[in-house]
């Protein structure tokens, strides 16, 4: 019938079998580049180690020859040369790896959002959006830190240990090489052991800082309530507690870093090899240069190992986060969309039927119960009911934001569940109760459903929604920015933009959630005109408190606690439903109407 936007058929990016696989996918994303980065890493470990050996050789030459020889000069030149080679190679390697790391972060973030976005609203109800945000930003950044610097440094360190033990073997003997190797393995084991002790505290620290941030943000958002309810002191005490808890955890963590056991292993290893080499030299088994070389090598290795404990923690955090992210990405919908093999032909201008519809927000209570009714083609329907009676929920079902828990909704006899959601949403549009606008230009918000809309179309929609009335007062008209960095709009203004947005979507079935808005009478009058424009010639379902809409409706549905307690036209309900009578009498100025009708 008409095309709206791009057809989006759900997430089509890669998927992973577990959190670990998600993390390890780093290795399979750009294999050749990664191989290059790793090769350069090995080479640069080699060049980083070389000077330690060369200094020993140079001094040996000096000692033996007793003067500066050309060979001595050659060795010095070799030191500078290996420095230069190190410079080039390690820069290339590092830079390649860094780009890999950042592209990993970028890709994961994109996949995360794309995946999360396609989850049904049940998911978004269950998950706090600010938590999802901090996962998408901070935790994914931490995943990247797991590959860069952590994995890189760990790999680099392993290569260094191997190269250096081999070099120790070459400059001394196999025993010292074995001892050095065992020493470093021991260091690693101790470091991992230590990391295991710290990990739970780290996790707790991260949680506490999360709680602290959330609590304080909540207080500042609701500061008017906090102060005027005289709860300041209470909240200050509560914050103090959280802060102290955090501070104690921080103290524990900090103290664990003191008396760091793995360093003792290194310390003993160095002293041991130092002593051992000294004895061997004094017994004439090794040259003096061996002392210089062994110590030089050990110092080089110590320098590269210094960061290892930190890197283990980063790697661990990355894996934990990866699992959490993976869980969110692979959330299993308790009410999965049915698989639709063939899109049926549908007459969207036909009758709409609710057949035994029950619905629950996955919380053990039915928000809608046993709804049975038919809306004839083209009707104007009004829905009324108290707070929480299920009016907005009913509209959400019609947009297929949720599927009924039981029963079905049919359009021209075709069950909704046989229609893919994006098809439903091409034909059904809603003006929501609490209007959500995106930050950006007003015109982009109006053309949200139809990005290809021309300026004329946007303008027409704005005029029809009675929104031009205030837009033309704004400094840049339709191009005015709204949202965080733009102008603030009042409730009535926002609502009219939402109407303009719906007008451009040009739906067959229009849903208006306008139950009781805080508008002054002038705005309300404009709004009514806008709504009249919008609802012309199409099936319209309106949640309303407006007397006039009720009286004019072809069908009124009265909801109470999720059930229909009365249904019919205004005249019929006035006669048959005492509930409706009660409500009608209380409606603004119905007495006037009744009196007016009588007189």
């Amino acid at each position: 019938m008409k095309t709206l936007g791009v057809e989006y058929q759900g997430y089509d990016g890669p998927s992973y079998s577990s959190g670990t696989t998600l993390f390890l996918s780093f290795f399979t994303r750009k294999v050749p580049t990664l191989i290059f980065a790793i090769m350069t890493m090995i080479l640069s470990s080699f060049f980083a180690m070389l000077p330690a050996v060369l200094v020993g050789t140079a001094l040996d030459e000096l000692l033996v020859q007793g003067e500066v020889t050309s060979r001595f000069m050659l060795i010095i030149f070799a030191i500078v040369l290996s420095g230069a080679l190190f410079y080039v190679i390690s820069f290339l390697g590092l830079y390649t790896y860094v780009t890999l790391g950042f592209s990993f972060e970028r890709d994961i973030r994109q996949e995360y959002f794309d995946r999360i976005q396609t989850h049904s609203l049940t998911f978004h109800d269950e998950n706090n959006s600010s938590k999802l945000l901090s996962m998408g930003m901070t935790e994914i950044s931490q995943m990247r830190q797991g590959v860069m610097p952590a994995l890189r440094q760990i790999m680099n360190n392993i290569f260094s240990v191997l190269i250096i033990t081999v070099t120790i073997y070459l400059t001394t003997d196999i025993y010292k090489a074995v001892v050095a190797f065992i020493g470093f393995v021991l260091y690693y084991i101790l470091a991992i052991f230590q990391a295991r002790r710290i990990i739970p505290i780290r996790t707790e620290l991260a949680n506490t800082v999360g709680v602290m941030t959330e609590e304080s943000q909540e207080i500042f958002k609701g500061i008017e309530v906090v102060r005027s309810m005289r709860a300041s002191l209470r909240e200050i005490m509560r914050f103090r507690n959280t802060s102290e808890q955090y501070s104690n955890l921080g103290k524990t963590e900090g103290r664990m870093a003191a008396f760091y056991l793995p360093n003792v292993a290194i310390l003993i290893l160095t002293s041991l090899l130092f002593g051992w080499t000294l004895y061997d030299v004094s017994n004439g088994l090794l040259e003096v240069s061996a002392v210089i070389q062994v110590l030089g090598l050990l110092i080089t290795l110590q320098l590269t190992s210094m960061m290892m404990p930190q890197m283990f923690l980063l790697l661990n955090a990355a894996l934990t986060n990866s699992n959490r992210i993976w869980e969110k990405m692979n959330w299993v919908d308790p009410y999965p969309d049915p698989v639709i093999s063939e899109i049926p032909d549908i007459d969207w201008e036909g009758d709409l039927e609710f057949r035994d519809v029950w619905f629950s927000y996955n919380n053990g209570r039915y928000a809608l119960k046993n709804l049975n009714f038919t809306i004839p083609s083209g009707s104007k329907v009004a829905v009324i009911g108290g707070p929480g009676s299920g009016k907005s929920t009913l509209l959400k079902l019609l947009l297929q934001l949720y599927l009924p828990s039981k029963g079905e909704i049919l359009i021209s006899g075709v069950p909704f569940k046989n229609i893919p959601p994006h098809i439903v949403r091409q034909h059904v549009s809603r003006v929501e109760q609490e209007v959500f606008l995106f930050s950006g230009k007003i015109r982009d918000n109006i053309s949200f459903a139809k990005p290809s809309a021309t300026y004329e179309e946007i303008l027409q929609a704005a005029v029809a929604a009675q929104a031009m009335e205030f837009i033309s007062d704004l400094p840049e008209g339709l191009d005015t920015l709204i949202g965080e960095r733009g102008v603030d709009l009042s409730g009535g203004q926002r609502q009219r933009l939402a109407i303009a947005r719906a007008i451009l979507a040009d739906p067959d079935i229009l849903l208006l959630d306008d139950s009781a808005s805080a508008l002054d009478s002038k705005t309300e009058e404009l709004l009514r005109k806008a709504l009249d424009n919008l609802s012309k010639d199409r099936m319209t379902i309106t949640v309303t408190q407006r007397l006039n809409t009720l009286v004019k409706a072809d069908l009124i549905i009265l909801l109470k606690r999720g059930e229909i307690i009365a249904i019919g036209t205004h005249e019929k309900l006035l006669e048959t439903s005492t509930e409706y009578q009660k409500i009608f009498e209380l409606l603004p100025e119905s007495e006037q109407l009744i009196k007016g009708g009588v007189s």
């Binding site: 820069f91 978004h124 005027s228 900090g254 707070p387 929480g388 995106f438 007062d473 309300e524």
Partner: protein
């Protein structure tokens, strides 16, 4: 929410470093003994690490001279001893500093939070809650980085001097070669703090944009779904994500230069030492051991120098954070208890506005991405905010004690502003607000809040149970009292139907409740507090007429004979009030009863008539 942590935002600093350090010292002085201990331990640490390579030198020289077994053993033991000493002293420093740092941040954080809770509402309305939170959580933490810089700088300085001393004592040449480290460090620091900073800022603000968009698209997910625009939101994120990646690459290119450059320089320095050592050795001026010592020491000299110059950058960031925190710590709220404030003497609750003029202070936008840019011009529309526009202009009216008064007028007329002045969220620019003849500025805020309560236009709920929320203003209320109030306003019916009844957990400002339900809870919350003066600012706008009538009944029963101010657009909400005040564009234009005002045939009549016109009564009635 560390999205806008302002690591590099030192350009806006307003205080001198010395002044800021004094502030820090005020907090640090509590730990002065710990600090002294740390300084003392640092001396030992420096001695240990400096002396260790000297032992190696001695060992090499002794070996060349065919040392005895015993001297070697002694040297090895000594070497090990120094290593252990270094480890122990460093560990002790870490241990002590762990307490100092964490306790200090806790003190700072709590004080900052407390100050912010009591800060002026004008402050809160100008700055996003996320940014305020960042002051409390991130900036205070940033200050410890500075503290760390302090202690590590001391250690680094000591080590650098000791190392330089050793080098010069071996040979002037070695000393001079090692000084190469200084220009190297300076070049690297300059690059980092100029170009690096610019690129860092770009990365940060770009990340900020990703985060902002992500936040928005997550909250607007149902809209994207409703209009089939998932592809679009996804590509918006992709675009920003790619942009950030490009900035990251630029930053990465620069940062990855640093480490290889340092290594290159240190290798050149080692080569120079070995070369000049060779020359000196020929002349018998140095030993082989000393040359070795020289190579170790030049390399070592580089790292404290680099650390020191790097610390200067960190310290800058830390001082900037301290500056922002100091702003808060030393701020004096404009609205607060005056020194001779007395508790309010309640005498019936007559409220009076005398010649009140008021304007909200300039709304400055705290630039979130640090890149700032020109703050957006605010529109002049009905809700637009422009500098110092007078929102109330010489408003005077009385709210009689024990009576119900209605305040009506178009959006933006200033109704909510009046309620904010009544609660002394702000003080009027001129004129005064009186309760029972006492100026609000002369009474304590506590007594004011005990007397006056507001149900505000925007229902705000806290994370917690429904019960906690209703009880928020009176934590000592019994369960029965809560049930009673809820049933009086007609909220019990839906609360009982919630999954866990009164114990249902509310998340994210009550996302799982309907709009009307949220409003009902705020009404119950305020009514439970049982104030002597009640203000309802469009408190029933999200309720249907039937529920509204229940609330009105409850209000009649509970607040009969108490001063009540009601703001509403629906005229049905205010049909039984004793007095009506009509506001228009910041002025109180008409005051009187319905009949009196109708007789005036002015603004009220106009409002009244549009109201019926839009209800379409005539149209229907004439059908």
């Amino acid at each position: 929410m560390s999205r806008h942590s302002s690591l590099f935002a030192d350009k806006t600093r307003t205080r001198k470093s010395s002044e800021l350090l004094r502030v820090l010292w005020r907090y640090l002085s509590k730990f002065k003994y710990s600090v002294a201990l740390v300084a003392f331990l640092t001396l030992f640490y420096t001695a240990a690490v400096t002396y260790q390579p000297i032992i190696v030198q001695d060992a090499i020289n002794l070996l060349i001279d065919n040392a005895t077994f015993d001297t070697i053993t002694l040297l090895v033991v000594f070497y090990l001893g120094l290593a252990v000493l270094g480890w122990v002293t460093q560990s002790l420093v870490t241990w002590v500093m762990a307490s100092v740092q964490n306790e200090l941040v806790h003190d700072l954080r709590s004080d900052t939070f407390e100050k912010l809770v009591e800060a002026d509402f004008s402050y809160h309305s100008q700055i996003q809650s996320g940014n305020i939170t960042s002051r409390v959580v991130n900036d205070t933490q940033e200050i410890t980085t500075g503290l760390n810089v302090f202690t590590t700088s001391v250690t680094n300085l000591l080590v650098a001097f000791a190392t330089l001393g050793v080098l010069f004592s071996i040979s002037y040449w070695f000393g001079l070669i090692s000084l190469l480290a200084i220009p190297t460090a300076m070049v690297i620091t300059t690059v980092i703090s100029s170009k690096g900073k610019v690129r860092m800022l770009k990365v940060r603000s770009s990340m900020g944009r990703v985060s902002g968009k992500l936040a928005e698209n997550l909250s607007g997910v149902s809209i994207a779904k409703s209009f089939n625009q998932e592809e679009r939101t996804s590509s918006e994120i992709r675009k920003l994500n790619n942009e950030t990646y490009e900035y990251f690459k630029q930053l990465g290119a620069m940062m990855t230069m640093i480490f290889p450059s340092i290594t290159l320089v240190s290798m050149i320095m080692i080569a120079l030492v070995v070369y000049s050592g060779g020359m000196l050795y020929e002349q018998g001026l140095v030993t082989i051991g000393a040359i070795y010592l020289g190579t170790v020491m030049v390399r070592r000299f580089l790292s404290p120098i680099l650390a020191l110059s790097n610390n200067i950058t960190n310290l800058q960031a830390s001082l900037a954070a301290l500056d922002r925190v100091t702003d808060i710590l030393y701020s004096r709220p404009a609205v607060g208890n005056s020194p001779d404030a007395k508790p309010l003497e309640f005498k019936g609750g007559k409220v009076e506005l005398v010649d009140v003029t008021f304007s909200y202070k300039t709304r400055k936008i705290e630039s979130p991405g640090m890149m700032g840019g020109a703050p957006h011009m605010k529109s002049k529309g009905e809700n637009g905010k422009i500098e110092n526009v007078q929102v109330l202009k010489r408003v005077s009216f009385k709210i009689p004690a024990g009576k119900k008064t209605a305040l009506i007028g178009h959006t933006g007329a200033g109704k909510s502003t009046v309620t904010k002045l009544l609660l002394r969220f702000y003080d009027p620019s001129s004129g005064s607000v009186l309760i029972d003849g006492q100026d609000l500025r002369d009474i304590t805020l506590e007594s004011l809040y005990d007397t006056v309560s507001l149900v505000s236009q925007e229902p705000y709920l806290f994370v917690g149970t429904v019960m906690d929320n209703i009880r928020y203003g009176r934590p000592d209320a019994t369960d029965e009292e809560v049930y009673e109030i809820a049933s009086m306003v007609g909220a019990d019916e839906f609360i009982d139907a919630l999954p866990d009844g009164y114990q249902t957990q509310l998340t994210e400002s009550g996302k799982s409740l309907s709009a009307g339900q949220r409003q009902m809870i705020t009404i119950a919350r305020t009514m439970l507090k049982n104030p002597k003066i009640l203000i309802l600012d469009e408190a029933t706008s999200r309720l249907d007429a039937y529920t509204e009538s229940l609330v009105q009944l409850a209000q009649q029963k509970l607040f009969d004979g108490r001063t009540t101010l009601v703001i509403a657009h629906r005229l049905s909400t205010i049909r039984d009030v004793d007095q009506i005040v009509v506001m228009d564009d910041g002025e109180a234009v008409e005051v009187g009863t319905h009949d009196e005002l109708m007789a005036l045939n002015g603004k009220y009549t106009e409002l009244y008539q549009t109201y019926y016109a839009h209800q379409g009564i005539e149209a229907i009635a004439s059908d």
